[in-house]
């Protein structure tokens, strides 16, 4: 089925938050700190106050009546800076004015005096003995960290995730092959094309916000807690989102917009510029030390990983990213010993949060490079070493977690074949594969309502959001399948927390699986209802009634759904309402989880120019191991998008920070892939083993390919003779590595 939102989007009718206009609405602009770390000495707003058109100015002093700190993992972030700024770009004040230009001019007219503090600009600086502390207060846990009891802050380390299984040191000491290296992963900007945007309205009805948020119910909870309003009085409306990829997960620009609207007494709209969104959230840069032990014939024995994730000035989703990275660090192999120590580190840079396939993207490539190095030393092929060591379905991925629910060896063979693994190649061409797992699904709480209208059409209400993945189409298809009616007659629109039922979040590849399951169950309740009504039409033989083509059938006789509904209500009005939900059943806590293991698998063929260091990605292949593809075309599209983001992440995307200043805060200097970067060949294989927990055996997708492709490019470049330990693989970096290798004794 074609996307249900195609016409709306092609015609320019799809509305995004930045297109919204509310009566009496003002425009907001944020004044941001130029310093990475400084004490605020004074704020003089008199010139701004005097400007015609300025309605309200918000500073930290306006927040004395509330506890103004938020953060779903760690409550460490003030709505606007209070006394101290901790990163360049941190909001210091916000202005609401009758038009955007006035708001911007007024923000510029505010005079802030700062007293500079020492900057902790890098992970190394943050971990150095006696390092300046980015935060000196005790950690306060947020409401949605899902990580058990948070330990105390340890210097600039706000969270640690560890795994310690087996006698790692003894295994390493006895191993024939030991591979070890240090790895560097860059900070990356998600670049959803639509920047963070919010319209907020505060009145006696409560707080209403139209927001670019992926998790409306979690934002609702944070806004309710911040402003001390009952949950039912906070209304979060999410129309179409112009991409998310994690950048719009959890709470971002909503609190400052609400606080400004509260002060102004009128609705306010804030639309970030790109440079502002770049410092609103980003992907964690990371450094890691990874070691792998193996036998001389390529049997993997132990892995030991230390990793440091730079979460910037505020934790945001850093603890979860760190934990997921820790889980991904060993790789999906049969280890006899594993040690992982992953730390989430504060620095004076922009806060880091979620970005598609977080954790797995960070560490899979490093581990996979080492698997290939073991294979090389053992004299076996990259595919063969994985075939021997990969976990099989039903084996434990980690103690206490869900056993593996995917056929990794099968997936690997498919991706290698799709790439053309065994074809001839010249020495400057490299081929690589990479395999990993991502704990997916987040917390399994979703609900849905399906309403069947008197005309026999249906409406699906869900709280997960349409970021572009096509969930509205998928939900209509799921409900249509259950209700035996065309999906085209089923409508699914945006989220409005006042009307759509609760859904935890939109991310971690969970919507089709969990919200989809809720939709399936809600539709099923209506199916049962329709059969009940039909049983009054043909009493005595309910077992012989079936639903087909939008009607109930008993032999050759039929009653359409509108006829059945009219029979129930005695007139041509009324509505059938079905409700469905998913919640933790048995185990399935977020910490133990996951809901399912998302397969992160990719293959790549690259060409390395030894003179210039330029790497060209010629071919890619991915496998979408989705259990059951509700809409195969949309599954492929997810992998294609993730592949391209993987290419950007691997080849050139990198936020360049010097002394806490982001040097490339625009799209001229921060380059993302264009259509010219599209490889000549790319393919996506869909695997349907019906082994997922979602509707009809489905499980999520859309993230795995990103981590898979980064790893595949890394192993392919190594296969061409240039093992790289620092991403992205810019020509300069690759060229330098080639020179180093020439000098190294082999």
């Amino acid at each position: 089925m074609a996307r249900s939102d195609a016409a709306e989007k092609l015609r320019g009718d799809a509305r995004y938050v930045g297109d919204m206009v509310v009566p009496r609405m003002l425009h907001g602009k944020v004044l941001r700190s130029p310093y990475a770390h400084a004490r605020i000495v004074s704020i003089d707003r008199s010139a701004a106050d005097a400007m015609p058109g300025v309605v309200a100015i918000l500073t930290g002093a306006d927040l004395l009546d509330i506890d103004p700190y938020f953060g779903h993992a760690i409550k460490d972030r003030p709505i606007v800076a209070i006394d101290v700024v901790r990163f360049a770009g941190e909001p210091v004040a916000a202005v609401a004015a009758t038009d955007e230009a006035t708001a911007e001019a007024a923000a510029r007219a505010i005079v802030v005096e700062y007293d500079e503090l020492p900057i902790v600009g890098t992970i190394e600086e943050a971990l150095a003995p006696g390092a300046t502390l980015v935060h000196d207060q005790p950690l306060r846990p947020g409401a949605f960290h899902g990580l058990g009891t948070l330990a105390e802050r340890d210097g600039n380390i706000c969270y640690r995730y560890t795994i310690d299984r087996g006698d790692v040191d003894a295994v390493f000491a006895a191993a024939d092959i030991v591979v070890e290296d240090d790895y560097v992963f860059p900070g990356v900007y998600q670049y959803a094309m639509e920047t963070h945007s919010v319209v907020a309205q505060v009145d006696s009805d409560g707080i209403t916000i139209w927001a670019t948020c992926q998790h409306p119910f979690l934002v609702r909870a944070e806004i309710a807690a911040l402003f001390d309003v009952p949950l039912g009085r906070v209304r979060v409306i999410v129309p179409y989102l112009g991409g998310g990829f994690g950048s719009k997960s959890y709470t971002k620009m909503e609190p400052i917009t609400v606080a400004l609207a509260r002060k102004a007494g009128r609705p306010v709209r804030i639309v970030n510029r790109v440079d502002e969104s770049m410092v609103t959230t980003r992907r964690h840069n990371m450094t890691a030390r990874v070691r792998t032990a193996a036998t001389s014939d390529g049997c993997l024995l132990a892995r030991d990983v230390k990793a440091w994730f730079d979460t910037g000035a505020y934790a945001d989703n850093g603890p979860r990213v760190t934990a997921t990275g820790g889980d991904a660090a060993p790789g999906p192999y049969r280890w006899s010993a594993i040690r992982v120590d992953a730390a989430c580190v504060y620095t004076n840079t922009a806060p880091s949060g979620s970005y598609r396939a977080f954790g797995a993207s960070h560490l899979q490539w490093a581990g996979e490079l080492q698997v290939d190095e073991v294979a090389r030393r053992a004299g076996i092929d990259s595919i063969e070493i994985r075939r021997r060591n990969l976990l099989r379905p039903g084996e434990l991925v980690r103690p206490g977690g869900k056993p593996l629910d995917a056929d990794l060896v099968g997936d690997l063979e498919k991706v290698a074949e799709a790439l053309g693994w065994s074809g001839e190649k010249d020495p400057d061409t490299g081929r690589g594969v990479s395999v990993g797992l991502l704990a997916a699904g987040a917390h399994p709480v979703s609900s849905a309502v399906v309403r069947m209208e008197a005309d026999g059409g249906a409406v699906v209400l869900v709280g997960s959001t349409e970021v572009g993945q096509g969930q509205r189409t998928a939900f209509a298809q799921i409900a249509g399948e259950v209700l035996a009616m065309p999906a085209e007659r089923i409508t699914c629109q945006g989220t409005d927390t006042r009307f759509t039922p609760y859904d935890r979040s939109t991310g971690a590849s969970r919507s089709t699986t969990l919200a989809g399951l809720a939709v399936q169950r809600a539709a099923d309740a209506i199916r049962v209802d329709l059969l009940d009504i039909a049983a009054t039409v043909w009493p005595g033989d309910p077992g012989a009634i079936e639903l087909r083509d939008g009607a109930a059938w008993h032999g050759d006789e039929s009653r359409t759904y509108p006829e059945l509904i009219a029979k129930r209500f005695g007139l041509s009005g009324g509505q059938l309402i079905g409700e469905g939900g998913v919640h933790p059943e048995g185990t399935g806590s977020y910490a133990e989880g996951p809901v399912f293991w998302e397969v992160c698998i990719g293959a790549a063929e690259v060409h390395v120019d030894r003179e210039t260091g330029q790497v060209i990605v010629h071919r890619t292949a991915t496998v979408a191991d989705v259990g059951r593809a509700i809409n195969p075309q949309l599954v492929e599209r997810q992998d294609e998008g993730a592949t391209m983001q993987g290419i950007g992440n691997a080849m050139f995307e990198e936020m360049v920070y010097v002394d806490g200043q982001l040097l490339n805060d625009n799209l001229l200097e921060y380059r993302i892939p264009t259509i010219e970067d599209l490889p000549m060949h790319s393919s996506c294989v869909i695997v349907e083993n019906e082994d997922g927990p979602g509707p009809f055996g489905a499980k999520g997708c859309g993230e795995g390919a990103l981590a898979g492709i980064i790893g595949a490019i890394a192993t392919a470049v190594a296969d061409a003779g240039v093992p790289m330990t620092e991403l992205p693989f810019t020509p300069e970096r690759v060229w330098r590595r080639i020179q180093e290798l020439k000098e190294e004794p082999s």
């Binding site: 320019g12 920047t195 970021v467 998008g641 799209l667 010219e676 599209l678």
Partner: protein, 155 residues
């Protein structure tokens, strides 16, 4: 200053500030929100509209420059016959996800097709390099445009 232009087929005149950009006038004054703002620096193409048939980045194009000229936004283009084949190919290929880049992409494609600049895969890659799409990874867009090009050539 006062300008007079043909906007989406209708003669329009309006007062603007000399330094105002076309995108602000379209979105804020005329409520034509099909053109989107993203990079604001002439890189992404999400704000693309046509001026005398040529694609321009409205975020960086002075509204004053449209005086006496013909401006077409997606709100005008969508009701012309040329819209249909492009939209149909995009729909068939699911060449859009969030849709934020889509109106600008469609207008650029139309302008390049009219100029005969899209003939093969290489020309599509060249022609669309100024329109970013973060969601699709471009494969489906390339396939959709290839379909439209092939259909035009077969005519």
């Amino acid at each position: 200053m006062r300008i007079a232009l043909e906007l989406n087929g209708a003669q329009t005149s309006m007062d603007i500030e000399p330094q105002e950009f076309l995108l602000d006038v379209l979105r804020d004054d005329l409520s034509l929100t099909g053109a989107k703002r993203s990079c604001d620096t002439q890189v992404c193409g999400s704000c693309t509209v046509l001026v005398d048939g040529a694609p321009v980045s409205a975020c960086s194009y002075l509204a004053a420059e449209t005086d006496e000229r013909v401006v077409t936004t997606i709100e005008g283009f969508r009701d012309t016959p040329a819209f249909e084949p492009i939209a149909a190919a995009f729909t068939r290929q699911a060449a859009l996800q969030c849709g934020f880049c889509t109106p600008g992409m469609v207008l650029t494609i139309h302008a390049l097709l009219e100029d005969g600049e899209l003939t093969d895969e290489a020309s599509i890659r060249r022609g669309l390099a100024g329109n970013l799409c973060r969601c699709t990874g471009y494969r489906a867009i390339l396939d959709a445009v290839s379909e439209v090009v092939a259909a035009r050539m077969a005519r």
